[in-house]
Point group: C2
Chain length 279, copies 2
């Protein structure tokens, strides 16, 4: 068992990560923003100021400052993204530099695999002002069974009633080749040979790509397309999404928050137990 459960609490050195306007534009097209979202896909449209999609925090945070490297060696083909949460302390600027410290928040033993929870806090590199925080859980198949804590299982409860808002997007047949250019080059999302080794018929979409599509839906339905109103988002990746799938995001509003889930045209819930804060 090459994963080290005692790594919990380990913290990364502060890591600086910078982004440019182009990085933000590339991210936006990678999560499906197009010609009807010019504020996110262009920087020079008449009367439209470039803004940054809130879920870009998962990119701008520079993969959580590298805390993940503390957990030891494992087979990357066995890793799938389990959960992702972000919290924004103000709108993300079009370009900037943050200093990020990450930590291993928890390691759980699910028997068939291990869950690694990392958290990170990113501050503006110049002013030290908090920019955003991130929490991420990944599941690594085959790395469990050391008799450790299974961890919590309940998430945000989705009400058994009609949703208040429903938004549907179709992912393109080929979003992965674009989405991966925002940083995650895991060949699970592009190489059929690697995907087969991981047990999939074909490459699957990045969890963070579905997350970005979902974030766009939340932003437009709940925040009047205004990133400054988008405060926090969390969700659990419950099934793989394949390029070309249609993603339908259903939202149940409760004051300045909503729970949500994202389903495919197959009726499979792919992001579950979601919650977003806005206002």
């Amino acid at each position: 068992m090459p994963i080290n459960p005692d790594a919990v609490g380990a913290e990364s050195e502060p890591v600086e990560h910078s982004w440019t306007s182009k990085d933000a534009l590339l991210y936006a097209v990678g999560v499906g923003a197009g010609t009807d979202e010019l504020a996110f896909t262009t920087e020079n449209s008449k009367g439209i100021e470039q803004r940054v999609l809130p879920t870009f925090a998962v990119i701008a945070g520079g993969a959580g400052g590298g805390a993940f490297s503390k957990i030891g060696e494992f087979n990357w083909a066995m890793l799938v993204h389990g959960e992702q949460a972000i919290r924004l302390h103000g709108e993300i600027p079009v370009e900037g530099t943050v200093r990020t410290v990450g930590r291993i928040a928890a390691i759980y033993d699910k028997g068939s695999g291990a869950v690694i929870v990392t958290e990170s806090d990113s501050v503006d590199a110049k002013t030290g002002a908090p920019r955003f925080s991130s929490r991420s859980a990944v599941f690594i198949r085959g790395e469990g069974g050391w008799g450790g804590d299974r961890g919590p299982s309940a998430g945000n409860i989705i009400p058994d009633k009609k949703a208040d808002h429903v938004v549907t997007y179709t992912t393109r047949e080929d979003p992965a080749p674009t989405s991966r250019l925002s940083g995650d080059r895991n060949p699970l999302h592009s190489d059929p040979a690697f995907a087969a080794m991981a047990g999939f018929d074909r490459p699957i979409l990045h969890g963070l790509c579905s997350y970005g599509f979902t974030g766009r839906a939340l932003l437009h339905a709940l925040c009047e397309s205004d990133p400054s109103k988008f405060k926090a988002m969390e969700g659990r990746f419950s099934k793989p999404v394949f390029p070309g799938d249609t993603l339908t995001v259903s939202m149940w509003v409760d004051g300045d928050a909503a729970v949500f889930r994202t389903e495919t045209q197959r009726g499979e819930v792919v992001i579950d137990n979601g919650r977003v804060e806005f206002g």
Copy 2:
């Protein structure tokens, strides 16, 4: 008439332009390469080496070394790309730096506008070995009428017989937001307000994007998908392409060359009088 016809012969200072593996990948997805062209869209697929699409020369050449700035001031909304030729001196590496010198090769007076022809030669910045050359003609509406030479009008003749090869690609509804990230941020390709000012119902695709789609078709049909066999390509942009259009490339082979044209689903020829050399 703010364009200076006497600029013919003016040469740019040598300009260095570098590109990375990521630039080549981004270009490939911008011209429609997807998951069935992993050599061009990924750098880490098992047993597949990353290679560069030959038409990437138009990007790697750094917009011709800046010779274009010699012609004076004009309204960019009036500019459309007229012709584009490239000649490759060997396969383009995945990353590199070239030194490019550009020159104003000709300025023609078409009455309703001016045609500016620029040429550039790019050499490897380290070794000085020739990498690629480029020739580009742009049409600027409203800038003609000074009584200058009209220039040549004939191009490569398309035979009146059945094509030897036909390849069809569909551009995505939204390729422009990705394609523009390879360098050409002209809002004609993204901003409806700007496109309207230029007289179009909606933003049109970059000519160089259609050129890249066409180059992919030529590469796969005539060069066994091997960029080292692709020697040269030229063509004339004869009609605008709109995002979402289907592009059908027809090729007539004659030894180690072929003439080609590209048509949309409307039957409009959008790249005409094309010629490619291979072998």
